[in-house]
């Protein structure tokens, strides 16, 4: 087990290298000089000034030197300053990260808490009205653009029914609330964002769980379990379920990029100050340092998510944990 983990951890190094090189190249696609871009809005800066700044930031050096310098800074979590307000990029991201992580983790929990039992139920009722109706629903959820669903839900809950606040993560007078009211307030604000960011994943995971379960129920060992005289409940929940659930572990890892990507859209719709919205703002303002920092960050988060899921899967599946004798 230990050797496997060490091997996987070592595997991160080339991945990190690849991720940073690719991110670096993406930014270098930019036509024109970055410094120009940065200060182009500022008419007071002269051409000489720009040259000087370029030298200062090392933009006159060859590409690989620039990359190495950038990498050196990166290893110290120094992504430079934001073009828009001059604050350190790292600081801006750290400030915004908790909200995004909280919503995504809540979504993940929400997805799995509902999608797994739902998928199992569909599998056990394969071909019935319930199964077909849920298949259709999931199909629709899969096909609907998230931001459109968000708009419709906002219309319904916030405008027609007036039940929920339309945007933000807290009320204006949040600070003066007692703790229970704070919690309630947060809950009301978080409800729609978490729901919206879960819907797509929910459809995917429940369909996946359903097909895994159906497959497991058709395996030879299910005949064995029945032939032993086990009750149908034991057959399903001991023998089929364990086999069907194991591969789900890797799905958690795979759903991370989707969730993080979705953050951009729903955070900007619901006006939530997370890294998704930060990225959106950076993209509209062409704030290169910030864009680059976030691209690297989400890629690393994704990679770590996959890594953890892989190791977890290898651990829970005895066929991988123990080889042949």
């Amino acid at each position: 087990m230990l050797t496997y983990i060490v091997r996987r951890l070592l595997g991160i190094i080339p991945m990190l290298l690849g991720i940073t090189v690719l991110s670096f190249l993406v930014i270098k696609l930019a036509p024109g000089k970055p410094v120009m871009l940065q200060y182009s809005l500022n008419p007071k800066i002269s051409l000489e000034e720009i040259r000087r700044l370029e030298k200062l930031e090392g933009f006159d050096k060859p590409l690989h030197i620039q990359y190495l310098n950038w990498l050196k800074n990166l290893s110290r979590f120094n992504f430079g300053r934001s073009f828009s307000d001059g604050r350190p990029v790292t600081e801006k991201i750290i400030e915004r990260l908790p909200v995004t992580l909280a919503i995504n983790i809540l979504s993940l929990l929400f997805i799995f808490a509902i999608a797994l039992p739902w998928g199992i139920k569909c599998a056990l009722k394969e071909g019935t009205f319930f199964d077909n109706a849920s298949a259709l629903t999931m199909f629709l959820l899969f096909a609907a653009p998230t931001f459109w669903l968000a708009l419709l839900l906002m219309q319904l809950f916030c405008i027609n029914l007036g039940l929920l606040p339309i945007s933000g993560i807290a009320s204006l007078d949040f600070e003066y609330f007692p703790w229970w009211k704070k919690l309630w307030d947060l809950g009301r604000h978080m409800f729609l964002p978490v729901l919206v960011s879960s819907l797509g994943g929910f459809a995917g995971v429940s369909r996946y769980m359903r097909s895994n379960m159906i497959e497991a129920m058709n395996q030879p060992y299910i005949y064995t379990a029945r032939a032993k005289g086990l009750s149908e409940a034991t057959v399903i929940y001991k023998h089929a379920l364990r086999n069907a659930v194991l591969p789900i572990v890797t799905i958690i890892g795979l759903s991370i990029p989707g969730l993080l990507g979705g953050s951009i859209i729903f955070e900007s719709i619901f006006a939530i100050p997370g890294i998704g919205r930060l990225f959106y703002e950076a993209a509209t303002m062409r704030d290169l340092n910030l864009i680059m920092a976030e691209v690297v960050l989400v890629a690393i988060l994704t990679m770590l998510g996959n890594l953890i899921a892989d190791i977890a899967y290898a651990y829970v599946d005895p066929r991988i944990r123990y080889g042949k004798r």
Binding site: Y221, Y223, K228, G229, R242, Y322
Partner: protein, 264 residues
Amino acid sequence: MGNLLEIRNLKVNFNLDDQVITAVDGVDLDVREGEVLVLAGESGSGKTVTALSITRLLPRTAEIVSGSVMLRGKDLARLSEDSLAAIRGKEIAYIFQEPSSFLNPVYTIGNQLLEAITLHHGKDKEEALKEARELLALVKIREPERVLLDYPHQLSGGMNQRVFLAMALACRPKLLIADEPTTSLDVTVEAQILQLLMELKMRLGFSLLFITHNLSIARRIADRVSVMYKGEVVEEALTEDIFKAPKHSHTRELIRAYEKIGRL
């Protein structure tokens, strides 16, 4: 000798998307107390479906259209799912063709074996473990302690079939149904498993319904042979008689083929 099991006019259909296929078409079959009955036939002849129908272990698409399955006077075909579950494993046990895929890959051998032991008799853990070791010794597994902790994929096909046999015999069933249990094994291992099976049958006195396409096995172990062809039993006779004087044309064809390629 009396009949342990009497199957009468069994008919099983498979309801597929666009058609109905009759897999078993009016089968009568008797298994006598303590005998070895070989159910022989080629692929698709309906022998496995017949065997699974006895305790209704069929896939969802299958449907028992008619027939009775009497076990010592009790009609299994009319029993509720719960009462049938009480009979499976306890009075009628199965072993299958590919032991490695018929064992659950995510549980240890010990777990699966203990399940079989404790299911029909409430035993405490110590007792059950002792029983498990004895069962493994019964099927001549040398390192029972180690095997109990192993997962199926860590054992060879032959070992898994031994484990399977131990599991099937846990409740000392009256009838053991073996569906091509040696087909996926090498010939030398096949010989060992068959020998073990016959030894255990002598010791424990169960009846054996053995399903195979391999007539040389039939010749070796059977008291009687039933031949199935296209969902029907076309011939049933004492082993000696059927090889000496086969009556049905399909049996003759089978035996001719066996003489050519099954017999050394």
